[in-house]
Amino acid sequence: MDIHEYQAKEILRDNGIPVPPGRVTKDPNDAVNIAKDYGDTVVVKAQVHSGGRGKAGGVKLAGTSDEVFAAADQILGLTISGHTVKEVLITPAEDIDSEAYLGILIDRESQSPVVMVCSEGGVDIEEVAEKSPESIKKLIVDPRQGLLHHQAYGLAGALYNDPSLVKQATVIIKQLYQAFVTSGASMIEINPLISTPTGEVKAIDAKMSVDNSELFKYPSIEAYRDVASEPWAETMAREAGLSYVKLDGNVGCCVNGAGLAMATMDLVKYYGGEPANFLDIGGSSNPQKVVTALQIITSDPNVEVILFNIFGGITRCDDVAKGIIEALGQLEIEAPIIIRLTGTNEEEGLKILSAEGMSAFTSMDEVVEKAVSETSN
């Protein structure tokens, strides 16, 4: 789960990292009031789960009350990479001497946390990694030892020459590692980490993702979830224990298992169609899950046909068949439903369907080809 900049900054502050003050608001008038507390110039920043906010016009400097109002008014409601801005963060503008990058993530290859620093900050770090990978210093941390003092000191030395800055950065790097492990993060990033003309090191932007599997341990972070910005269908899917990702096509897909669900989408494309979604109903699916899945799929107005690809393992075909019949009773579904049902309790499942005048395919290719043929394009 991604959290917003202002939320990530709260976590950084809790771990002792110097972060300028800031408050969020949904209202331009309120933004003006907040700015009054922060001196001459403030930054108004869109709070959305997306990078590239600056380029999209989601970050603005403002000197006067009118400018603050105008900036907040323009940014609120802006759409950045498909996300609508509903809140802005108001924070004092800082004088900047240098900008650096500091991040920690879980590295799949070494199966360990990796700390990365780069003396070029405030820029897209993936771009830097591609163009000049040598400018990024990486340290693989032994997760059982944690980040050691001399390691943090070595990383800080790659960012600064001035002993006072190195000392401050050493502490910040250790604090960031602490924040990483005590909040179940999968990624945490300060970009940029700045030094000021008065010789202070501060975090002025932050980004953080928390491992979904850790959220149960951290209710305060779970409470950061921005349900208002989440599409209705995704909230519904998450609460029902389904995995759903909306796509742009018209073939609604309902599948058990993530790999099979992806392969089904790919096969839709192979036969000339476009998948409307990824949806995995998971392992032990009860009929109610199938009803919810159909509710979600049919909430997408692009869907012209609904394709079920069920290979029963833990999932039982009769449960899925029952769910389909129940859904047809509860929901108004206009799109044709094309079903493939095979595996555990296949016969029972087919019986349930045929009692309602429905039938099913047994092969994946047949069902996908048939579903694609039902679409208008």
């Binding site: 990702v245 392969a263 989408m265 494309k269 990824f278 290719d365």
Partner: protein, 294 residues
């Protein structure tokens, strides 16, 4: 022959009294797997009733169970909140193989567990995997027995049901398997494609290998290069997620394209470059395997 599990497997089930654990214990015993004991803290001294009224002893700790039964493999069905602890206990107990079925184990916990397992020389399969089956010999996990038959193909996959799809197509055509391994859909897994390929390389009966990968990470790319340098038998590959959008997790925690890396296209290209035969659809795997065997 086969890899990882066979008739010498002496299996312990962690979470044997749970809903999934008890169901699959019965299935595994029915298949002929030698289940020697179960572990559920607080239920030590009781026993689990097998399909033919066998009494499988239950222990409070893995240590006691191993000491009493000589178990060499453990399978974990415990819920996510307790799975990391169960894996640590298994690694600490002296078994050689730990198969972790549970989905949703925190990744930070896995960084420590993988390091611990490496120190102890214990192999972890998974987490978030369907387990492993050596047709006709033993099954550890949840792979349905109906879809497999003994034969010359080694199967390795990051997925569950997609593996079933591929394997049943082989079985229907009379092409059996030495072992089918589900390595898991998490970003940090204990046994990689290369680990499985290395084992299959040493297995005389495996004549060809099927690898089923998906978007996210570089495990498939690393395996492709390893294959080109080390393997003499043919490999057929399939990658799921050609239509997956970048930056979105597709069900499995590990199935995510980060930036521009880990795409299906990149993996398929890497397969082709290194002599792995790439199937466009799951059904095409059968034909490619047949060609490879000829």
């Amino acid at each position: 022959m086969s890899i990882f599990v066979d008739s010498k497997t002496r299996l312990l089930v962690q979470g044997i009294t749970g809903r999934d654990g008890s169901f699959h214990t019965t299935e595994m015993i029915r298949y002929g797997t030698n289940v020697v004991g179960g572990v559920t803290p607080g239920k030590g001294g009781m026993s689990f009733k097998g399909p033919d009224d066998q009494k499988i002893p239950i222990y409070n700790t893995v240590e006691e169970a191993v000491a009493d039964t000589g178990a060499n493999t453990s399978v974990i069905y415990v819920p996510p909140a307790f799975a990391a602890g169960a894996m640590e206990e298994a690694v600490d107990s002296g078994v050689a193989l730990v198969v972790a079925i549970t989905e949703g184990v925190p990744v930070q916990a896995m960084t420590k567990i993988h390091a611990f397992a490496q120190d102890r020389g214990v192999r972890i399969l998974g987490p978030n995997c369907p387990g492993v089956i050596s047709p006709g010999k033993a099954k550890v996990g949840i792979i349905p027995e109906q879809i497999v038959m003994p034969g010359p193909i080694g199967v390795i996959s990051r997925s569950g049901t997609l593996t079933y799809e591929a394997v049943i197509n082989l079985t229907k055509e009379g092409i059996g398997q030495t072992t089918c391994v589900g390595i898991g859909g998490d970003p940090l897994i204990g046994t990689s494609f290369i680990d499985c390929l290395t084992q299959f390389k040493g297995d005389e009966e495996t004549e060809a290998i099927v690898m089923i990968g998906e978007i996210g990470g570089t495990d498939e790319q690393d395996a492709a290069e390893w294959i080109s340098d080390n393997l003499d038998i043919p490999v057929v590959g399939f990658i799921a997620g050609q239509t997956a959008p970048p930056g979105r997790q597709m069900g499995h925690a590990g199935a995510i394209i980060s930036g521009s890396s880990g795409t299906a296209e990149e993996k398929m290209r890497c397969f082709e470059k290194n002599g792995v035969r790439v199937a466009a659809r799951p059904i095409d795997i059968v034909e490619l395997v047949r060609e490879a065997l000829d």
